[in-house]
């Protein structure tokens, strides 16, 4: 018996394994709601109602999102670019929809979240430690640097943008906003008149992030 359960129990587990999956409609509804709450949370963080590191970190991420999406797509968001992440706040990004329950569920402390006592006796809410400053700061730095890239692009300084992107690559080789940096590079190369390189970078971008909402814009760069 593969599961180490006796026959009936084993069969029950086999029969019920897929029984709890959500329906397509439930998934869709969840997707929209999460996007709205992510956006709302960003708004809360930005308005500074809470001073904890957690929320500040969410704010940093949202700042990153806004910066990044401005670079990459104008409105399309960050999640769609990042394979391993939750849904795309894309559609909702410009208009945060605050709702009462947007109050952040209190997460447990930092640490590799793997360490999770399953006991319900966790009723005694765990101490609300602040997010590792390093993670939050790094994200803020990433977002700030990409904002500079965006500024350079807006003022037509493609070479400046490229230099800043090189510095981004050096400082954040595994950055959270990697996809945004890759998209920005395409526009920077165009702006600097390096069309061939821009096209090659655009092709790589589309291969790497095929489902990104920025893909079409990136491909249309230099045209």
């Amino acid at each position: 018996m593969t599961t180490g359960l006796e026959q009936k129990a084993h069969r029950l587990v086999e029969l019920a394994r897929a029984g709890d999956d959500p329906s397509a409609a439930q998934l869709l509804s969840l997707h929209g709601a999460v996007a709205a709450r992510v956006a709302a949370q960003g708004a809360i963080a930005a308005s500074g109602t809470t001073a904890t590191g957690k929320v500040a970190a969410a704010g940093a991420l949202m700042k990153g999102l806004v910066v990044a999406s401005a670079i990459a797509t104008g409105a399309a968001g960050f999640f769609a670019l990042q394979g391993a992440e939750p849904p795309a706040p894309a559609a909702v990004m410009p208009t945060p929809v605050p709702r009462p329950s947007a109050v952040a569920p209190t997460p447990r402390p930092p640490e590799p979240a793997a360490a999770v006592p399953a006991r319900e006796t966790e009723a005694s809410t765990p101490p609300n430690r602040v997010l590792k400053p390093a993670a939050s700061l790094r994200l803020q730095d990433e977002a700030a640097l990409l904002a500079e890239v965006q500024g350079a692009l807006r003022s037509g300084q493609g070479n400046v943008a490229l230099a800043k992107l090189e510095s981004y690559d050096r400082r954040f080789p595994t950055g959270m906003l990697r996809a945004e940096a890759d998209a920005a590079r395409v526009f920077a190369l165009c702006s600097a008149g390096r069309v061939e390189k821009a096209r090659a970078a655009a092709t790589r971008f589309v291969q790497r992030y095929p489902s990104s909402p920025a893909a079409a814009r990136v491909q249309a760069a230099c045209k």
């Binding site: 599961t3 180490g4 359960l5 006796e6 026959q7 009936k8 129990a9 069969r11 029950l12 587990v13 086999e14 029969l15 019920a16 029984g19 709890d20 999956d21 959500p22 439930q26 998934l27 509804s29 969840l30 997707h31 709601a33 999460v34 709450r37 992510v38 949370q41 957690k54 970190a57 969410a58 991420l61 394979g83 391993a84 992440e85 939750p86 849904p87 329950s101 952040a104 569920p105 997460p107 447990r108 930092p110 640490e111 590799p112 979240a113 793997a114 360490a115 999770v116 006592p117 399953a118 006991r119 319900e120 966790e122 009723a123 997010l131 993670a135 939050s136 790094r138 994200l139 959270m176």
Partner: protein, 168 residues
């Protein structure tokens, strides 16, 4: 990727006893925590296991909130026990059977203590390795194995009792 995560989150919230009416809220909470804490994910466990850890905590919170909420207990059809001893086959009743089995699974899981429930879900339902489950529950590997054995025996006992059989 998002879709498989969403399914993982949803089905395990259900198994962990979050009532139907609170499922979407709970799933949203999980994703907000995931979203916020993703920068801390260090790849020490798989992403699925990491998310499962968050699901456990959010489920506990929602269960507490829902305490006192009227939860309808699904009746267990008398023929279900027999169907479980029959060999697997795809027939016209298979769909109903899946449905009934899922309801029964919830009834059994609900009778286990939290740690046993979590272990059984991770290892036997989600087919996570015992090593990963041990890491998620913060116990050492030997402990996880012996608790898993105990969880399986408890699962079988509760199943028998729900089916009206004398436990072996």
């Amino acid at each position: 990727m998002y879709e498989s995560c969403a399914k993982l989150v949803w089905r395990n919230l259900r198994r962990l006893g979050v009532p139907e009416a609170a499922l979407e809220d709970a799933a949203q909470d999980v994703f907000l925590v995931v979203h916020r804490r993703l920068p801390e994910f260090e790849g020490r466990s798989s992403l699925r296991t990491w998310i499962f850890g968050i699901v456990l905590r959010v489920a506990a919170r929602h269960r507490r909130k829902a305490r006192g909420m009227l939860v309808r207990e699904t009746a267990i059809p008398s023929e279900l026990g027999q169907a479980l001893s029959a060999p697997a086959h795809e027939g016209p009743f298979e769909r109903t059977l899946h449905h009934q089995a899922t309801a029964l699974l919830h009834r059994v899981l609900e009778r286990l203590d939290d740690e046993r429930r979590a272990l059984l879900i991770m290892v036997d339902l989600e087919q996570t390795s015992v090593a990963e489950a041990a890491e998620a529950l913060d116990v050492n590997l030997n402990t996880a194995y012996s608790r898993l054995r105990a969880a399986r025996r408890a699962f079988e006992t509760e199943l028998s009792s729900l089916l009206g059989e004398t436990p072996k």
